[in-house]
């Protein structure tokens, strides 16, 4: 993992949140290890930042949910290590930012919270309790130029193409081979917070490629105990190994027996996916 960091703020001028993205980036850039990337110059002349981006990981700071900085990074196919949204942080603090650009206690509190979020990532991660299987065997089918693989056993799927595999009371959640092929090169995984409690079919973060954002719909209910930290440096593992190294979230299950009623086992998902692929003519 590299020590240097590139920070890409949206730098919006017409909303307070955009201005705060800039102020956070400037605070970060006080460190010599941090290179501040101007979004507009990056768009105009990517080569200006090529060396810095090759040497360091990229943190993106979006001001609002238009997510201009994220979109720019995706358009340029830049791998993102971490992403923060100023408006979401402000909302979590119950602070309204609005249009007017201002420097007061509220905006300073938001800046500090965003900086804290960036500094504390993965700090709460505990050692994994999940027991990995020695090997996973697959069934495959082809459609046109695509070959899709589905594990032969021990995985369960919802109809949103998200899987869960269980070890005692622990489980891992990820996305199917079908999802990763649809998204193409995955650039960023936005995991949930450790400790989050969620119900079956709740959102459990998202993954992004230059083509689309895919919301992860949880196949089970439970509590997040770990996220796959390796994906922050190598999100492409979801493409390369969607059922094994590319797992997304580790959870403590609430009631898997009940959740299972609404999931497909491997043979059923294999048939479901074949029908789906034929219908939408991938």
């Amino acid at each position: 993992m590299s020590d240097s960091l590139c920070v890409l703020p949206c730098n919006g001028l017409d909303k307070c949140a955009g201005d705060l993205s800039r102020r956070v980036a400037q605070e970060m850039a006080k460190s010599e290890e941090v290179e501040l990337i101007c979004p507009v110059l990056l768009n105009q002349n990517k080569s200006r930042y090529e060396k810095a981006l090759e040497a360091g990981s990229l943190t993106v700071i979006d001001g609002c949910n238009t997510r201009c900085a994220s979109k720019l990074a995706a358009d340029l196919e830049l791998a993102i290590k971490e992403k923060v949204n100023v408006s979401e942080v402000a909302k979590s603090l119950d602070i309204k930012l609005g249009i007017e650009i201002r420097e007061d206690q509220d905006t300073q509190a938001v800046i500090q919270a965003v900086l804290g979020k960036i500094n504390s990532s993965a700090a709460e991660q505990v050692e994994s309790e999940f027991v990995e299987p020695e090997s996973v065997e697959y069934n495959t089918f082809s459609h046109g130029k695509f070959i899709f693989k589905v594990p032969k056993a021990n995985y369960y799927f919802n109809e949103n193409d998200c899987w869960v595999t269980v070890s005692g009371n622990m489980a891992r959640v990820g996305v199917s081979d079908y999802v990763q092929q649809n998204l193409s090169d995955i650039l960023y995984v936005d995991p949930p917070e450790i400790g989050d409690e969620f119900e079956q079919f709740d959102d459990l973060g998202s993954i992004e490629s230059s083509k689309a954002v895919f919301e992860i719909v949880s196949p089970v209910a439970g509590t997040v105990v770990a996220v796959n930290a390796g994906l922050s440096d190598a999100p492409e593992q979801v493409n390369e190994s969607p059922y094994e190294k590319g797992w997304l979230v580790e959870v403590r299950l609430s009631d898997f027996e009940e959740d299972q009623d609404l999931l497909h086992d491997c043979p059923a998902y294999f048939e479901f996916l074949k029908r789906k692929v034929e219908q939408i003519d991938v």
Binding site: P9, C10, N11, G12, L13, D14, K15, G18, R22, R23, A25, Q26, L36, I37, C38, P39, V40, L41, N43, Q44, N45, T66, C68, A69, K71, L72, I99, I101, E103
Partner: protein, 135 residues
């Protein structure tokens, strides 16, 4: 925001002091000199292609305020919309060497910097008034 019929776009301004000045000048124009008369377009949003910014710059005269001779704002308007109605290069107002100094947080702005902001904002207002007079 887009109800007014003249637009102004500042460069994003992270490469140099000229960028800091251009952003502050556009804000001054929007908040103090021409309040309610100018549509400030967000350049990152303009580049992302959302929010109606490109469509505005195609339909209505838009002024680019750039921090240095890279002219990122002007080039973006010309690339994604149409010719600019007017353009400012802060480096031509405060000098190339000064404009290429490191960008500043607004917290560290001095009186001299504010003078640069005032000059840039005044020049942008001149162009604004010329465009308005022709409408």
């Amino acid at each position: 925001m887009l109800g007014n019929r003249i637009g102004v776009i500042s460069c994003s301004g992270e490469e140099c002091l000229g960028g800091t000045i251009s952003r502050l000048a556009v804000r001054k124009m929007m908040e103090e000199l021409k309040p309610g008369m100018v549509s400030t377009l967000c350049l990152p949003l303009f580049i992302a292609g959302d929010g109606g910014e490109r469509e505005f710059a195609e339909k209505y005269p838009t002024i680019a305020v750039d921090g240095c001779s890279k002219c990122c704002a002007k080039r973006a308007i010309e690339k994604y919309s149409s010719a600019v109605a007017g353009s400012i290069d802060v480096a031509e107002i405060i000098g190339e060497a000064k404009a290429l100094e490191k960008p500043l947080s607004t917290r560290y702005i001095t009186d001299l910097h504010m003078e640069y902001v005032n000059q840039t904002a005044a020049k942008t207002c001149e162009i604004f008034d010329e465009i308005l007079a022709k409408q």
